[in-house]
């Protein structure tokens, strides 16, 4: 079986009231550079419904996280 590249990894995210991340892996989000939504494969049994955030953390690290609206969980992902 082949393995996909850039598989999402579970992330520890504390969201704000509007749903945007406030803390990512216990580090404060300094800036949200971009936000977008991916809705795909809705015609399959495994639909994709994600809200992505490209954020800069207090450490200066640039991270992309998303909230999986199908499963109600947060993930980080490279290559997004």
């Amino acid at each position: 079986m082949l393995k996909p590249l850039n598989e999402p990894r579970a992330a520890l995210v504390e969201p704000r009231a509007d749903g945007a991340p406030r803390l990512v892996n216990r580090l404060t989000v300094e800036l949200i550079r971009e936000e977008w939504r991916v809705v795909d494969r809705w015609w399959t049994e495994d639909p994709v419904n994600r809200r992505y955030f490209d954020v800069v953390l207090e450490s200066g690290q640039n991270v992309v996280v998303f909230h999986d609206d199908e499963h109600g969980r947060w993930f980080s992902q490279r290559g997004a």
Partner: protein
């Protein structure tokens, strides 16, 4: 003697192995994609309902509204047939097979081994197994052996001696003679309904009326050529498979997958630097169907680019998205020699160094540690669907 082992409606039986309950119902092999809408082989229940192989699909469904159309599964059929031929070869028969479901072999070499002709034929039936309902015919001539196999009951071995060949063939129906339906109807309209009636006509008159096909059928009606059975060379067992996490229908992705398969198959140690004479590309499709194409090279090849260029256009024939793609090197040459190059192509040295480096990494970290990244859907909005890790075996 020439023996013929026949499994009627083999492709239908192979397709029904996963759905054995359908075999008892009226069912027929559906036409392949893009082909004329004529049904293929049928089950006995469909035969009783008045359906005939080769009928137009609409006519067949009108004749028997309960008719189940079974999608052909060529890859499984080829694999099952290959298993059967190998079992025969394991029992000592040198098998010649050009059509799925029909195999010829010469019994002379094995009669002494098994203690006579009948025992040898029984051994052949036992090698195939009872679930295929195989039957065997033996005669001095190829067509007579085929006819005997078609007349025999499942599991029966029917031997037709030379002196009885004419009498044996005479009452058989014309459909056994590989004539197309129009020609057969033409003959039947003229009152020629049995093999013996055709054999009794003057050859020149048959050739004039029915052309070369008719002349060849006339020859068969008289017993067919004696011919020699040429046992095949057992195929090589080198294959590579790529299973996709989800169905792939994009040509670019499939071409990349093919390139990976070619590289992996060529780097297999069992190939031992031999050239490839024949390859088979098969796929498991969405919905459970399969697809298969074979290709024979005029000049045996071992260059990845040649294989890719030759096999690439075959991917255009795929009728549905693919779940798994498989490449088999079915026939290799015996020779291992290779013409040395006067000037090495650009990058050849770097390629060698890279391969050596990868070999070292694999030696220290174990198999599966070295992989290539292959883009499969770079346009996808889902990041993890854009590329895959493909383990490198070279």
């Amino acid at each position: 003697m020439i023996a013929c082992l026949a499994i009627p409606a083999f492709e239908l039986r192979a397709a029904l192995r996963k759905r054995p309950s359908v075999a008892l119902q009226p069912a027929a092999l559906a036409p392949s994609d893009g082909a004329e809408p004529l049904i293929g082989s049928i089950t006995p229940a469909a035969d009783q309902a008045g359906v005939r192989p080769g009928m137009r699909m609409g006519e067949a469904l009108a004749t028997c509204p309960k008719l189940i159309l079974v999608e052909p599964d060529p890859a499984s059929a080829e694999r099952d047939w290959e298993e059967i031929v190998r079992s025969l070869e394991d029992s000592g028969f040198a098998v010649e097979s050009s059509v799925l479901g029909t195999a010829y072999f010469d019994t002379r070499g094995v009669e002494r081994l098994y203690g006579g002709l009948e025992s040898a034929l029984e051994r052949a039936l036992a090698a195939v197994g009872s679930h295929w309902d195989a039957r065997v015919g033996a005669a001095g001539r190829r067509f007579a052996a085929l006819a005997a196999a078609n007349v025999a009951r499942p599991g029966q071995a029917l031997i037709v001696s030379d002196e009885h060949t004419k009498e044996f063939l005479a009452p058989l129906p014309l459909r056994l003679l590989g004539l197309d339906e129009r020609r057969r109807e033409e003959l039947e309209a003229l009152g020629v309904k049995r093999v013996g009636q055709l054999a009794g006509l003057p050859g020149a008159a048959v050739a004039e009326r029915l052309g070369p096909d008719g002349r060849s059928a006339w020859g068969q009606a008289r017993g067919g050529r004696r011919g020699r059975i040429v046992g095949r060379r057992p195929p090589a067992e080198i294959f590579e498979v790529l299973e996709f996490p989800e169905a792939v229908g994009n040509e670019l992705t499939l071409r990349r997958a093919l390139a990976t398969l070619v590289d992996r198959a060529l780097s297999r140690r069992e190939r031992a630097d031999r050239f490839i004479r024949k390859v088979a590309l098969s796929a498991r499709l969405v919905g459970g169907a399969s697809w298969r194409r074979t290709l024979t090279f005029r000049d045996p090849a071992a260059e990845p680019d040649r294989l890719r260029i030759a096999l690439g256009p075959k991917l255009n024939d795929l009728p549905a998205p693919v779940l798994a793609l498989r490449l088999e090197l079915t026939e290799l040459t015996e020779s291992r020699g290779q013409q040395l190059e006067l000037v090495k192509p650009d990058g050849a040295e770097l390629q060698t160094k890279l391969k050596e480096g990868l070999r070292q990494v694999k030696a220290s970290t174990g198999g599966g540690a070295v992989a290539s990244v292959v883009e499969v859907a770079p346009w996808s909005r889902i990041p993890e669907a854009r590329a895959l890790f493909v383990p490198r075996d070279d």
